[in-house]
Structure formats: structure tokens, C-alpha cells
Symmetry: D2
């Protein structure tokens, strides 16, 4: 293998998923993101040596998330808003399985209500919201956390959509950011969880009517979050965690009773 | 209202759900539970003043979990093994919604692989297992926890199915029990989580080939778990956590930009 | 035992601890709390049948927290600001031991920097602060939590001291409240933890220059928190969790090697 | 700077702390660890390019943990048993402060009862124990965790001291290992926590009467744990998180009331 291949293999392979709807239907959004939100994020990441970013969108076959692409993705980022219901359940199954094997997942803004996020959280993931272009201030609650690396005390976002508490999520395992809104609300805008072998980060800012993904500090958080969420080199097939035959028990035992399963581990009804 | 009604209203209303398959197809199981696992659990609970238990099974219309029954249930217990796939997704949706509103859920033994548990956990919920009738010793890891109330250091179960680590679940918020198995394995057999307003407890013992639900200390744990999981008197409709109109903001603000939603909060595409 | 005794025994026995300094040195504080912060809190609780509140202050012998008082306390609330260092380490040891046995602890406002809170958290418990009499809005992040019972979406506190992130605490196990401040900050103002058999709640509002403990909703939170933190009826002596002699092992084993401890379990050097 | 310096700077700087008592007083222990437990661990680490390990022991001035050494330590490992009380409180203060700034801490075996571990946990850290040379099997409960990297399902330790539940610790944030013991007990033998900016790992095996730190898989865990616990490049001074002057507030506010602090932020009594 030549050196450039080796380098490429060491890069974090990121897939930027976007439903890519409002960038084509709304002129304001189109003007901010002529190549789509995914286009901006991928471009920024690919300017940094450590990332190798590709994009995928709702309209592509299998939403651009084929088994092969998922196999080659270390971290997936997810942005959706208007078309959550159009995402196929089969693809959600595939992405969930891949996260549980170890793929990182960074869920962005209105992605809080995506099928994949609700699937992994188990809750409604509902929140309060208001669209007034008000100021959001994203405070760092955990300054030593790798996702806050390079930030000062907070990120100021001049115009943002308000997302407010209560946010119906399982208690975050690490609270990286909490947001303040001009209209008077607060929101847990940076939350970490682990599910299976995968790491999940939710990041609040990102309303499509404002140029939030052009903000250098938001871009910084994206890179930090992807770096944090990358797999640790271990890819597992949880399905392997199954039948433990008696004769392979670590302590010598013999069967003491009847069985509902046959010798292959199949349940008999 | 007369006094007996008042008393009845103060009781914890429990619904004991059972798929009720092996008790009818397997003579060993039938002999241990002639009225079904649900029958034994409900009977034991109803002998205690504080509980009002009913049963529901897979074969009933809507699996016995109609909207009305769910409305009247404080805590649901779930036992299934051979027929997880036969549980309708619509009923799983309903039960999940009710847990998130505040209904407690106690998941038993092979219920680890039920649709409802996987839905609420977001993980595969897979584990290792072996059916050898070996000894299980359920150790109390958290002796001050209400679910361990009345127990000594551990519960000895003479014959049990081995369930072993890794158990693919989100990190338990409280670890009440950890089991030791004769064949050499360990298992997190008593785990607590909170999802939405509901409390969830998973309890490992309960293989249908052994009279585990006849064990007085297992019955004790069942009662403790139901008591722990009961709602705190607050029933919420998370769907209410939605649009916050600008004119109702706590701080006076005016809209600073365009909007994707109309005045009723509907998203425009 | 007569009936009134029985009733008294069922009440939650609360000890309201206060350093009681600024109420005597500062005329503004004195005017708001002529009988001390502890006086107001105890009075409010004692107007409710379910509580039996007493007070204790720094200047009393053993700071009013004798072994006997600790024995008879179900939940202790802690307010301190100017004199944290004057609290004796021996009393902190005693209170910590009692919390680990099961006594609830409600830490108030500047109590975040008390010896007992730092001891139980293991962190610096530092935060940012500003004393400007600004507006604080305490949002309910977990509307089904018993500590939020009876509240609407938030509590408005017209004048408050700003406490802001980062707040150096272990990740809260449950996040009940998050505060918004007029000057632009946010703060995790309602946090739950479990340590040993005890439950701990930190509540942010309570600066002594403003009549915050006269606020009906703050009083409501106090009652809710005490109710939540009360012991579950289990009082443990963790010191009992020690030597397990070989001959009492649940599985029959014999010693396979040398020992550093003698037969009584004493370590030999 | 020359290249070897650069390489050295990229290495993880580990300090292996040991009380170093039983290796000198007990002939069995002396025979297993003629250069001390710390000697074996440091030697093994220094054979791997990524680590730069030094040792420190109780008898050295400041226990070998001077301010300068702490400054230059990325991860500290801690083994103690017979002399916990001889560790100076001032050194415990220093180590705690350094962990909260970001230094990793790996606590080994009987170190569960060290001052530094109890300080960071806030609990008694008591457990059950038995010294019978029985078999311990350390199961991997979280196979995708970096600390389990390179392990199969479990580590078999032929002779070990039993440590059993209940183990009085705050709920682990990640459960990497759970141990099975021949005599019938279980134990949470691999637990992760975050405190301040520091990561803490407790690892159960390591009784000094058996050659446990000579076990290749135990050595593997040591390396994995140190790698996991290393700081993320962020070193913080939490004391900086303090007074936020009114004129620097992010939102323009003016003081609305009296103050207890003077302009420098000093509290007036």
C-alpha cells in the first residue's frame, strides 16, 4: 500500500446526511446554502487533513446510505426537518445497527425529531420552539470536554431558532453545552450519549434560515464532535453475543433440567 | 365516594402482560404455571392490599392492552419469549407513549428482547445465554435501593437459565442486582432507567422451565419494583411541549427574520 | 403508643441548617429574614402536616448537628455562604456518613461551596457568579419529576444573584431545573444525585439579599425536594460490608494460598 | 527542539504510585515483586513506545508527588493497601486538584480505600472481601470500550482476592468489567467516572500475594486504561470560573439592588 492510501485510511471517514429540501424550496435558505447544508459542512471538513467527508441526501437511492457506504463511514452527521417521515424504516434500521456496532452519530438541530434519533433515544425527543431570529448564546458547561476544545466561554449566534426545555431525552451522560435565548428560554444544546459501541452527540444550533453552519465556531464544534464520536477501532457484531453451549462453560457444569432450546440454540414452541 | 372506592383508587393498578405461549405448548411449563405466569404474578400481587392487578395476554384483542386499559394502568409488567414478533407495532407505540407519559414498566427475563424494551432502550438488548438449569445467585449491589427492600445479601435461585454479559443496554442509571452463575458468568440482572416521565426496571430471573415466580424473594422483588416504578402523580402529554408563539415569549422580543412556519406553527415546504 | 405519636413518627423529620451570619451583620438581609433564613424555611414546612422541621445553626454546640440530632433527621437542608470554613471537619464527617446511610440532603444556593457538598461531589463545585439583582427564570427541564410537582413551565424570580456555567459538578443523574439569567447566562439550578443510600438535591436560587425563600414556588420546590430526598425506610451501616470469611462462602471453597489478613480479617504488615 | 524530544513530548507521561510496604515486609509478596508492584508496572509500560512511566512511593519526600511531578503527569496510577492513612492530606489535595484539571487517575485493587479515591467518589468505597486465593473471571461488559480493547470475552485470574458487592460507589458512568468469583460473589471490577476535567478508572484485580500484574491481559488493561484516561489536551484552572463583573455581562444590565460583595468580588461580612 502506498503512503497516500495509508494517510487516507487514517482519516476519519464522515458522511454528511441532509434531507436537502428547504434549500430547494425556500429562496432564503437557497441563498444561504446554494449547495445545500451538506455541501457547506462537507467542504469545511475536507479542508482539514484529518477528515474525509462525503455527502448523502434523501433523494438518492437508499437515501445515499447503502450498506457499502455505511460500512465505510466512521461518523455520520444527520440534518433533517421537513421530511423525517420520508426516511425509510429499513434505512433507519441499518443506520441504527451501524451505530450500535460503533459508528459515531452527530445529530443536528431539527434532526432531534428524526426517526434515527428517536429510535436511539427511546423518547419522544420533543421540545419547545419559536422562530423569531432571536439571539442564542451557547454556553460551555464542560470546558475540558473535547467537543468544547478551542472555544471560549460561549458561542454567540446572532439569529437563531429558539429550542427550549423541556427536551424529552434520556439524561445526557455528558452535558457539553446549554443555550440561552433572548426570548427567555434555555436548552440543553450539546448532549452526549453512548449506545452499544457507538457515540452520539446532539448539537442544537442549525436553523436553515440563518447562516449558522458558516459560523467558524459552529464549524469548530462540528469537527470536534466528529473527532469525539469516531469509533475506537473496535467494530462489533452484537448478534454474536448469543448462545453459550453448556460444554463450553468456563466452569464445568452439566445440564440439570429440561430445555426449551435444541442443541443449536433454537427455541422450540 | 365511599371508602372502599377511595381505597381502590389509592391502590397501584398493575397490568401483568404475558405472551402465554409456553404454558400451553410445553408440559413442563404447563405444570409449573397451569394458569400462566401472569396468573401467578397477579394472584400474588392481589394478596397484598396495595396492589390491584389484572392480566393481559397476546391472544386477546389488542393483546389486552386497549387504550382504556393503558389509561388505567399505573405499572405494566412484561413477560414474553417465543412470540415477540407477534406483538403488533401499534400496541408497542401505545405502550411506549404511555411509559413516556409516566406509566412504570417492569420487564421480566426474556422480555429483554421484546419490542417494547428494545424500543425504549434504543439498543439491541442482546445478551449471552445458556439453558442448563444451573444455580443463579442474585446479589444486591445497592442495598439501600427500594427494589432491594427486605432482601438479605442475595437471592439464591437453585435452577435458572444463564443470562450473561455483555448485555447490550444503555448504562443503567441505578444498578440494583448483579447475578452470579454456576457455569462461570455474571449478568446485570437488576437495572433502572428513566425515560420521559416513566420508570423502567429490568429483572433477569424468570425462565419458564423453573418455578421462579413461585420464589418468595422473587415475588418480593416484583412488588418492590412495581412500587418503585409507579407514577409520581404526574401524567404528561409531551406533545404539548411544542410551539411557543413570539407574543408569548417571557422576554419581550420581536421577530428579526423570515420564517419557515406559519402563524399556527405549521412548517411550510 | 398514642395516635399523635404515630402521626409524628410518620412525618418527615427535617433539620434546616443555616450558618446564620448575614442575617445579623447586614441590615438588608436582617430586614428580609429577621428570624434567619432557617426560621422562614422551618416555619413554612411546619405549616404542612407532613413535615416536622427543626433548625440548627453554626454557632450552636456541634453546629446543632449532634449525633442524636443526625440520628433523628430524615432530610437535612444546608444554607451557608460567608463561613464555610468555620464548619468543623468532624461535623462534616458525621453528616457525610449519615447521608451515605440514607439521610437526604438538600443543598441551597451558596451551599454549593460548602464542605459537605464538595465532600460528596468530589469536585471543586465552583461556578461563575454576578450580584446584580437581575431576573432569573428557573425552567423545568423534567416536568414529570416529583421535585417539579405543582409548577408550571418555570419560576420567575425578579431579583437574583447570577450563578452560571461552568458549574464543576459530576454529571447530574437527573436534571430538574435549568436557569436563564437576564445578563445572558445559564445554570443547572436543579440537580439530583445518589450517594450511598442518600439522595442529594442542589437548588440554585436563594441569595440572601432578596426575599427568595418567601416566594411561594420556591417554598413549593423546598417541600417537593425534601419529600423526594427522604429515606426509603432503609438505614444501612456500610461498615458492615466487610470481611466475608472463607467458611461462609456461598460456594464451598478452601483457601488456596497465603494470606495477609489474620482470621479476624485484620491486615498484617 | 530535536526529534527525540518531540517524540518524548507526545508520549503519555505516567506516574506509577505505590505505597511499597508489603513488598518489603512479606516474603511472598517480595518474591513476586522484588522491585515493587510499581517497578513491574513501570517496566511493562516503558517497553511500549507510547508511554513514558516513572514511579513514586509513599516514603519519598511528598510521597514522590511534588507539584512539579504532578505538573508533568498525564495519568497517575494508584496502588495502596496497608498505609492509606499515612498519605498526607496535603498531597491528596494536590492530586485531587490535578485530576479535576484533567490528569487521568487509574485506581488499582485495594486503592479503592485510598484517601484520593474516597475523596473523588464522595462515598465510603467499602466492599466485601475474602482472601482465599480463589479463581476470578473478569468479564467484559462493554466490548466496544477502549479499555477492553484486545481482550476476549473475559480474563481468567487463577488466584485472586475476592472483592464483592455491595461496592459503595456512585453509579459508574461506564461499566467495562464485572467479575465472577469461585466462592460465589460478583463485583463491578472495571468502572469509569469523569470528575472535573479528569477521567477516573477503577480496576479490581491486583492482590499483592499473587502475580496479577505479571498477567499479560492485566498489563493490557493497564495500558488501555492509561490511554483512555489521558487528558484531551485541555488543562483548566477551575478557580478561574468565578466573578463575572456586571459591566462584562453579555447582555447589557445594570445593578438593581444592594450587594454583599465589593467591586473585586470579595464577600463582606
Amino acid at each position: 500500500m502506498n503512503q497516500s492510501n495509508t494517510q487516507a485510511m487514517n482519516k476519519i471517514r464522515v458522511t454528511i446526511w441532509n434531507e436537502f429540501v428547504h434549500e430547494r424550496t425556500n429562496p432564503v435558505v437557497k441563498n444561504i446554502y446554494p449547495e445545500g447544508i451538506h455541501g457547506v459542512i462537507a467542504k469545511v471538513l475536507n479542508q482539514q487533513d484529518e477528515f474525509q467527508a462525503r455527502t448523502a441526501t434523501l433523494e438518492e437511492p437508499e437515501h445515499g446510505l447503502t450498506a457499502e457506504i455505511c460500512e465505510k463511514t466512521d461518523v455520520l452527521t444527520w440534518w433533517g426537518h421537513a421530511a423525517h417521515d420520508e426516511v425509510s424504516d429499513a434505512i433507519v434500521d441499518r443506520v441504527q445497527a451501524r451505530v450500535l456496532q460503533g459508528m459515531g452519530l452527530v445529530v443536528l438541530h431539527s434532526g432531534h425529531y428524526s426517526k434515527i434519533f428517536k429510535r436511539l433515544m427511546g423518547t419522544t425527543c420533543l421540545l419547545r420552539w419559536r422562530e423569531a431570529g432571536e439571539r442564542e448564546r451557547v454556553w460551555v458547561a464542560n470546558p475540558g470536554h473535547p467537543i468544547a476544545e478551542g472555544l471560549d466561554r460561549c458561542i454567540e449566534i446572532p439569529n437563531s431558532e429558539m429550542y427550549g426545555e423541556p427536551f424529552d431525552i434520556p439524561a445526557p451522560e455528558e452535558q457539553v453545552f446549554i443555550s440561552w435565548f433572548e426570548g427567555g428560554e434555555v436548552f440543553r444544546s450539546g448532549c452526549c450519549w453512548r449506545r452499544g459501541n457507538g457515540k452520539i452527540f446532539y448539537f442544537g444550533p442549525g436553523h436553515e434560515l440563518y447562516p449558522i453552519y458558516h459560523h467558524p465556531l459552529v464549524q469548530r464544534v462540528m469537527g470536534n464532535a466528529i473527532r469525539w464520536a469516531r469509533p475506537q477501532g473496535v467494530w462489533l457484531n452484537p448478534a454474536a453475543a448469543a448462545h453459550a453451549p453448556i460444554e463450553q462453560a468456563r466452569e464445568r457444569i452439566t445440564s440439570k433440567g429440561p430445555q426449551l432450546h435444541d442443541a443449536t440454540g433454537s427455541l422450540q414452541v
